[in-house]
Amino acid sequence: MRREPPRTIADYAPLAFPAIMLIVFFVVPFSTMIAVSFFRRQQGGFYTPDFVIDNYGRFLSAFFGGVLGFSLALAIMVAVICVGIAFPFTYLLTKTSRRVQIVWLVCLLSVLSLSEVIIGFAWSTLLSRTAGITNLLVAAGLMSEPQALLPGFGAVLTGMVYQALPYTILMLYPALVRLDTTLLEAARTLGASPLRGFINIIVPTLRNTIIATLIMVFVFALGSYLLPQILGRPQHWTLSVLITDQAIYQSNMPFAAAMAVFLVLISLALVGLTLLAGGRREATA
């Protein structure tokens, strides 16, 4: 569809509402945060306007480097696992009858109604020694006595994957439902087994969708700060946990703001790299 390019100021009017929303709820708060990250902290509570880079300087330590690395690695793992599970699942879901699809999608949507707190405490019960799933394994004769599966890295990962999986599926579903089914049939007539056709044809055809979903889940997982505290040990705490800790318990707003800005920059850089790599592959393909 061709549209006339806007000529007069009035033609831009429909943009006003989203622009105001974006400014009020994103540009202003984010600018404030960037400004605060350069302010000087007052011992005992508040901060005064200033321009110091101490907040960023303090960040360049092995401890914060380690936490940042762990946060990024955890978010990447959650993204990869979620897409790894959700892609085949959603693909098979689109092959089922309409009614089965609706039941599944409603169940998945209902998971979204749970808050991070409820998910965290539900999993801490499920993974506990006294009331957890290991009791079922003991009852089934697969284990000799119940064990506590938390706190630990596995528990954090499980909780975060559980939380992000419905988003992943909902993001993949529209693309997979529209997929031309004859592509796989064509691959089969050309000698590819259904599994091989899926890997050779379906996955590459939806590469852009997969990349977009990975990025979304990555960003989503990066912001998680409750699950690592409920299900993990202090060494499993992410940068988001530390930001919360600095901002709320240590009352060190400038440092918290500096960490937040840094996290945003690193995330943007990673997303940019991913898109760049995807774009380059497209150019050579």
């Binding site: 049939e185 007539t189 050309l190 000698g191 590819a192 393909a285």
Partner: protein, 345 residues
């Protein structure tokens, strides 16, 4: 027995029978067109041959080997889909080489075969292009080349030309036929276009409501349709209700058709006669009387619509042999017996 043999093949979806007890033998090297209106089961039949649809009953046998339990990817049939199903993330060359890559054929041989196939479909030097940059006709050729890459035992095409414009479609029909004759490969094309079937096929299989109505050469189908459905579907025809008189002659509106008699025991029947075989005379003696209601002059041919006793009879003539009639004129219609086919009503 050599060739393709479909034995009592049926497919039911719930209560709906898409393909009903189809029995067909196709000798090697034959070009078959499955022809029928939409929803007649022709595509389902093709998909069962390809193994993409499991038959509810019956079997698909090729050269005495029962292929019914063999999965699609082990059948080695080439297939062109209606949507063409070219892989959008691969180039033309990679699309064609895909079946070769799966068989583990090495890179040099693959490249050589791709060049060979692209030359065959008249698209040399297109290997490096992305599929999205091709025109409709070019995509068509790439899909054909890809399906032929492994020298398949059967070449199946599902409405392959339906997305092309009329002119290109006719050119591709001729090209497809020539390609098939060059390779000598057994080919089955599903189409709803009877001109396409007449152009390409050795054997036309007319399907209706899941059953084979007639399987014969294009000329035989045209000249000797097996029933009213086939007569009506292939080309245009006049279907006239006739009765037998006391000596068995076919009588239309009280006027016996000279030299045409109904088979013994048939009191009523249908006569199918092609418009080009209907003769109009100004002399109404011994002819069916009618009134010209409309004349459609198409330049190359002239269609004259004659109303006789509530039935419209269409006559087609060339301008040279055009009788000098006007709309509203009284004319006599004669039906040469050798062009009439008597059908069950």
């Amino acid at each position: 027995m050599s060739g393709l043999h479909l034995k009592d093949l049926s497919k039911r979806f719930g209560n709906f029978t898409a393909v009903d007890d189809v029995e067909l033998t196709v000798p090697h090297g034959t070009f078959v067109c499955m022809l029928g209106p939409s929803g007649c089961g022709k595509t389902t039949l093709l998909r069962m041959i390809a193994g993409l649809e499991e038959p509810s009953a019956g079997s698909v046998v090729l050269d005495d080997e029962d292929l019914t339990p063999v999965p699609t990817h082990k059948r080695n049939f080439g297939m062109v889909f209606q949507s063409l199903a070219l892989f959008p993330h691969l180039t033309v060359g990679e699309n064609i080489a895909y079946p070769l890559r799966i068989r583990g054929i090495d890179k040099d041989k693959r490249r050589k075969r791709v060049e060979e196939l692209l030359a065959l479909v008249h698209l040399p030097d297109y290997a490096a292009r992305p599929v999205s940059k091709l025109s409709g006709g070019q995509r068509q050729r790439v899909a054909i080349a890809r399906a032929l890459a492994l020298s398949p035992r059967l070449f199946l095409l599902d409405e392959p030309l339906s997305a092309l414009d009329a002119k290109l479609r006719e050119a591709m029909q001729v090209e497809l036929r020539q390609l098939q004759q060059k390779l000598g490969i057994t080919t089955i094309v599903v189409t709803h276009d009877q001109r396409e079937a007449m152009t390409m096929a050795d054997l036309v299989v007319v399907m209706g409501e899941g059953r084979i109505r007639q399987a014969a050469s294009p000329m035989e189908i045209y000249r000797k349709p097996a029933d009213a459905f086939v007569a009506d579907f292939i080309g245009s025809t006049n279907l006239l209700e006739v009765e037998a008189d006391s000596v068995g002659r076919a009588v239309f509106l009280g006027q016996p058709i000279a030299g045409l008699s109904l088979p013994e025991g048939m009191a009523k029947g249908l006569v199918s006669i092609r418009p080009e075989n209907v003769h109009l005379t100004e002399n109404t003696n011994g002819a069916i009387r009618g009134r010209v209601t409309f004349i459609r002059d198409l330049g190359g041919t002239i269609e004259t619509f004659v109303e006789a006793g509530g039935t419209i009879i269409v006559a087609v003539t060339t301008p040279r042999e055009r009788s000098n009639v006007e709309a509203g004129a009284e004319v006599g219609v004669t039906l040469p017996a050798e062009s009439c086919v008597v059908l069950q009503q």
